[in-house]
Amino acid sequence: MAHDAREDTVHVEFTLNGKVVSVEAQPADRLLDTIRYGLALPGTKEGCGEGECGSCTVLLDGLPANSCLVPTYQVRGRTVETVESLSEEDVAPLLRTGATQCGACTPGVVMTATWIRRHPEVLEAQGIRALMAGNLCRCTGYDGIVEGVEALVARETGG
C-alpha cells in the first residue's frame, strides 16, 4: 500500500494468536491488511471489504469481528485470534460435514464457529443460522456449515 511519508505511524502492540507482536501501522491501515501483509498471516481473507461477507472474521478480545472494519490502531493492547491459531483437530467436525468447498469463506466461518464452540450458551438465545448470518458462503448451501457447528458444539459439550 502507498503511504504518505508525512503521516505519523502508530506503534501498536497486541497479542496475536497467543504471542505479543508489535507493528508500526499507518493510521489508515485496517487490521485485515496488518495481519495479512504486515504480519504475513494470509489465512484471513478479504471478501467484500465492507463488513458484509464475514471472510475476514477474526476473534477480537474473544468476539467475532470483521477485520476489514477494524482500524489497526484500535487493537493496541487487545487480543486477536486468526484461523492460523486453530489446530486440525479444532476444525475436524467441519471438514467431515462438508462445511467447506472453495474455501474463500472458510477462515471466517471457522472463527465464528470457534466462538460458538466456546460459548454454547449463546445457542439458548439464537440459532446457529442466525449466529452464522454474517458469514456468507456461495458453495455449500449452508447445511454442511450448520451441521459442522452442531458437531463441534456437541463434541465440546459431550452432547
Partner: protein, 275 residues
Amino acid sequence: MRVLMPDTLEEAYGMLAAEPLTPVAGGTDLLAHWPGNHDARKRAYLDLSGVSGLRFMHWGDEALTLGGLTTYSDVIWDSRVVEEFPLLADAGGQVGSIQIQARGTWAGNIANGSPAADGVPVLMAYDAVVVLGSEEGDQEVLLADFYLGYKKMRLRAHQLIRAIRLPRREYDFQRFVKVGARNAQAITKIGVALTRSEERWRVVVNSMAPTVRRCPALEAMLDEDRPVSGPEDLLTAIREDLAPIDDIRSTAAYREKTLARVLYFDLKGVCPSFA
C-alpha cells in the same frame, strides 16, 4: 490522515476543543469501502477506543445508562437489559451480523445520523436522553429532539456522546419491526418501534424521512383511540408524519403501504379501536 488516541475523557475533550476531529468508536460505518474512500483518508480522527470508563451499563433507580462506547453485543447478551428493555435486544440483534454487533456502538449509531439507523428508533421509543460531554460540561438532549435534518444534529464539534440514559418505566406494549430484503446484513426499508407506557404511545419510524423520527399524528390516533378499520385508515397520519422517498432499497409507495400494514396488523388485538 492523522489519528489522536486519548486515554481519558478529559484528554479527548481537550483534543476536540483544539481542532476539528471525527470521533471513531467501533469504526463499522467509517471503514466500509475504506480503501477507495480517499476523502475519509485525508481527515483527522479521534479514536475513542482507548478512553477508559466509556463502556458501561449502569442501573440507577430511575434510569439505565449506557456508555458512549457500549456496543450492541454488550446489550444483546445481558439478560437484565433483555428483560427490562427488550427492544434494545430486538433491534441490536438485527444490526448487521454478530461481527458488526461486537464492534458497533449505540452512540455511534446516533452520531452517524443515518435515517436507516436500527438502534435509534428503539432508543427514541424509550425516551432516551443523549448526554453530550465537552470541556464546558455535560449537556442533555432528548433523543427525539436531537435531529434537525438529514445528518444534522444537536451535536457540536467539540462535544462527544458520553452516555445515553433510558428512563425505567413500566411498559404494557413494546415492539420493534424491521422490514429488509433479508433478515441479516440488510439495511432497513421500513422500521418501526412501538411502546406504550401509562396510556401514552410512542411511534418511531426509520428509513421513511430524512431522520429517524417520532410520529405525532400516529401517536395521537392511538392515544385518542380513534377507530381504525384497516391499514388504509392510517395512511393520512403516515403522510403527515413522514416523507418517504424512492431509493435503491424501496419506493415511497411501498414504504407507506407496508408501514400501514405493519402497524395495523401488529396493533389489531392490542388497541380496541382497531377493528
